[in-house]
C-alpha cells in the first residue's frame, strides 16, 4: 500500500465548502483522476470538481490525506464506509456525518455535529471510527447506532445526544448534557463530566472492556491513554431514564 492520495488545498477557501459527496460510497478503488471529478458544493459558487479545489497527488489505495486550512470544509467523509481518511488540521461542521465504516482521523478540531446523524434523521453513525485529536463542537456522535467517536480534547455540549448504541470517548472535559436522550450506548469520560439529571448513578467499578478499548486507542492511534485510565475506577451512570435507560456514562474517577 502506498502513502495514499494527498489532497492539498490549492488556495485558501473564502466560502464554506460541502464535501459530503467526495468520499460517499465506494472510493478506495478509484483513481485520483476519478476522485478529482467528484463534486464539491461551494456555498456561493455552487458545484466544482474536487480537483479544482484541491491538488491531488498519489493514488488512494485505501487512504486519503487532506492538507491545508480546512476549517471552512463541512461534511467531509459524510457516509464514509471504507478506507482511512486523515485530516491535517481542523474541520468545519458535520465531519464524518453518519459514518458507516472506515476511519476519519482529524488531527485538529472538529466543528459541531461530528459523526452525528443528518439533521432530521434519528440514526447517525452505523460503523467506523472517528478520531478528533483536538476539541469537538456540540453534538458529537449524536444519534450513533454503532461505531466509535473519540475526542481527545474537549467535547462540546450534548456529546452522544440520542445515541442508540456505540461508544463516545472523551479524553478532555465533556460539555453539558452528554448522552442526553440516549437509548443505549456508552459515553466514556476520562475528564470532567456532569451527567444529565436524567441519568442515575449505579456504582463505581472497573469495567474490563474499557481496558481493551483504551489499550487499542493508545496502540492504534497513539492517544494519551494513561495507566490510571486502564487500572482506575469508573462511576457508572445509567440513562437516559427519560428514554430506554439502557445507556451509560462511565466517568473515570481518581477515587
Amino acid at each position: 500500500m502506498s502513502g495514499g492520495l494527498v489532497a492539498r488545498l490549492r488556495t485558501p477557501l473564502r466560502q464554506r465548502a460541502d464535501l459530503s459527496e467526495v468520499l460517499a460510497g465506494s472510493w478506495t478503488a478509484l483513481s485520483a483522476a476519478e476522485l478529482a471529478r467528484r463534486p464539491v458544493h461551494l456555498e456561493r459558487d455552487g458545484a466544482a470538481p474536487l480537483g479544482e479545489i484541491f491538488e491531488l497527488n498519489g493514488e488512494p489505495e485505501g487512504r486519503m490525506r487532506f492538507v491545508g486550512d480546512l476549517e471552512l470544509i463541512d461534511r467531509l467523509a459524510a457516509g464514509l464506509n471504507e478506507g482511512e481518511v486523515t485530516v491535517e488540521g481542523s474541520l468545519g461542521s458535520e465531519a464524518g456525518l453518519a459514518l458507516a465504516g472506515g476511519t476519519l482521523d482529524i488531527q485538529g478540531d472538529a466543528g459541531p455535529r461530528a459523526g452525528a446523524a443528518p439533521l432530521g434523521f434519528k440514526r447517525g453513525m452505523t460503523g467506523g471510527e472517528l478520531i478528533v485529536r483536538g476539541a469537538a463542537g456540540a453534538e458529537a456522535g449524536a444519534g450513533m447506532r454503532r461505531g466509535l467517536v473519540v475526542v481527545a480534547g474537549r467535547a462540546g455540549d450534548r456529546a452522544g445526544l440520542g445515541m442508540i448504541a456505540g461508544n463516545v470517548v472523551v479524553f478532555g472535559s465533556a460539555g453539558a448534557d452528554a448522552g442526553l436522550w440516549s437509548k443505549r450506548g456508552s459515553v466514556v469520560a476520562l475528564g470532567a463530566i456532569t451527567p444529565p439529571p436524567t441519568y442515575s448513578y449505579a456504582c463505581t467499578y472497573q469495567p474490563v472492556h474499557l481496558r481493551l478499548l483504551l489499550t487499542r486507542l493508545g496502540g492504534r492511534y497513539g492517544l494519551p491513554v494513561r495507566p490510571r485510565h486502564l487500572n482506575g475506577f469508573y462511576r457508572r451512570y445509567s440513562g437516559d431514564m427519560a428514554e430506554l435507560g439502557k445507556g451509560e456514562i462511565l466517568a473515570w474517577t481518581a477515587k
Binding site: 456508552s186 469495567p207 481496558r211 481493551l212 478499548l213
Partner: protein, 298 residues
C-alpha cells in the same frame, strides 16, 4: 534404539482428529486466573467419560493478554464442532463466569470456524447485558453481583489431534512415577499441547471394548497390567513391575511430536526398561506417531 539404556520399542501412538478451542482467561491476579482455570479444566481427562478433554496450555503474562491482566491459555477438545460449542458454553458458564474478576477471550482469532459462546452466555444477563464491538470483535458485558463478566461472542475452533501417547515401562512403581513426573514437566512447556490427565499421567490405560460387557467402550489394558502377567497375554518384559502412560493432545501433529520427543527424552532414566506406545493397529486413528522416528529427530 536405546536412549540412556532405555529401549525404545518399534511401535507408534495412534491418535485421533479432534476439535480444539483455545480459551484465554484473565483476572485481577494469578490467584483467580488459576482458580478459574483449574475448575474449567477439571473432570476433563477423556471424552469417553467426560465429554471433553482439557488442560492448561501455559500461563500468560499481562503483556500477552487482551486486557493487560495476568492470564492463562487453555485448550479444550471434543470429537466434533457442535459438541465443542456446547462444552464451551457449559464450562465457561459454570467455571469462569462464576469466578471473581475473570474475563474470557478467544485464543484462536485466526480460525475461520467459529462457535457462539458469549452469544449464548449473554442470556444470563436477563436483558441487562450489553455488547461492545472493539476492533471488529464483539464482546458481551454480563452484569454480575461483583461487577461485570466480559466474554467474547465467538470462539475459533480448529481440527486438532488427541491421543498422542507413550508408555513408560519400569522396574518399579517409584521408577515409573519418577520418569512420568520428569516427562510431564518437560512436556508442560511445549506450546500448543496439553496433558489432560492428572499431573499429565495416566495409570489406567485402556483397551477398546471389554472381554465381558459388550456395552463398555473401554476397559483396562490388561496386556500392560503387571498384576495380570500370569493370567493374560501380557505385553510386558519380565523385569517390568509398573507402567504409566502419558497422553498428550494438541493443536496439530507437529506440536504433539515435539512434546512426545521432549517427554520420552526426559523419561529415559534409571529404572525404566522400555518406552512403548498405545495403538489400535493403526485402523482407528489417522495420526500415527512412530516412537523411533520421533526420537531420531531429537
Amino acid at each position: 534404539m536405546k536412549i540412556r539404556g532405555v529401549f525404545i520399542e518399534d511401535t507408534f501412538a495412534e491418535a485421533f482428529t479432534m476439535r480444539v478451542a483455545r480459551i484465554v482467561i484473565t483476572a485481577r491476579s494469578n490467584r483467580w486466573v488459576r482458580a478459574a482455570a483449574l475448575k474449567l479444566t477439571g473432570f476433563a481427562t477423556s471424552v469417553i467419560g467426560c465429554k471433553v478433554e482439557a488442560g492448561i496450555e501455559r500461563e500468560l503474562s499481562a503483556r500477552e493478554t487482551p486486557d493487560g491482566r495476568p492470564g492463562t491459555s487453555i485448550l479444550l477438545m471434543t470429537m466434533g464442532k457442535d459438541d465443542l460449542a456446547k462444552r464451551l458454553v457449559e464450562r465457561i458458564g459454570q467455571t469462569v463466569l462464576t469466578c471473581p474478576t475473570t474475563a474470557c477471550f478467544d485464543g484462536l482469532p485466526d480460525a475461520t470456524d467459529r462457535v457462539g459462546v458469549g452469544s449464548a452466555l449473554r442470556f444470563f444477563g436477563d436483558g441487562f447485558q450489553m455488547s461492545k464491538v472493539i476492533a471488529g470483535v464483539r464482546y458481551w458485558r454480563i452484569p454480575v453481583m461483583e461487577g461485570e463478566f466480559l466474554v467474547q461472542e465467538k470462539f475459533g475452533t480448529l481440527k486438532g489431534v488427541g491421543g498422542g501417547n507413550f508408555l513408560i515401562l519400569a522396574r518399579s512403581a517409584d521408577a515409573a512415577l519418577g520418569a512420568a513426573e520428569a516427562a510431564a514437566d518437560a512436556m508442560a512447556a511445549q506450546p500448543g499441547t496439553i496433558l489432560p490427565f492428572p499431573g499429565g499421567v495416566v495409570r489406567s490405560g485402556s483397551k477398546v471394548g471389554s472381554r465381558r460387557i459388550k456395552s463398555m467402550i473401554a476397559s483396562t489394558n490388561d496386556a500392560y497390567c503387571p498384576t495380570l502377567r500370569a493370567v493374560t497375554k501380557s505385553a510386558l518384559p519380565d523385569s517390568v513391575n509398573s507402567v504409566l502412560e502419558i497422553v498428550v493432545n494438541g493443536v496439530d501433529a507437529p506440536s504433539i511430536a515435539s512434546s512426545m520427543r521432549a517427554g520420552i527424552h526426559a523419561a529415559c532414566h534409571d529404572g525404566v526398561v522400555a518406552i512403548s506406545a498405545g495403538n489400535y493397529g493403526g485402523k482407528l486413528g489417522p495420526h500415527h506417531f512412530h516412537l523411533r522416528q520421533i526420537m531420531a529427530g531429537a
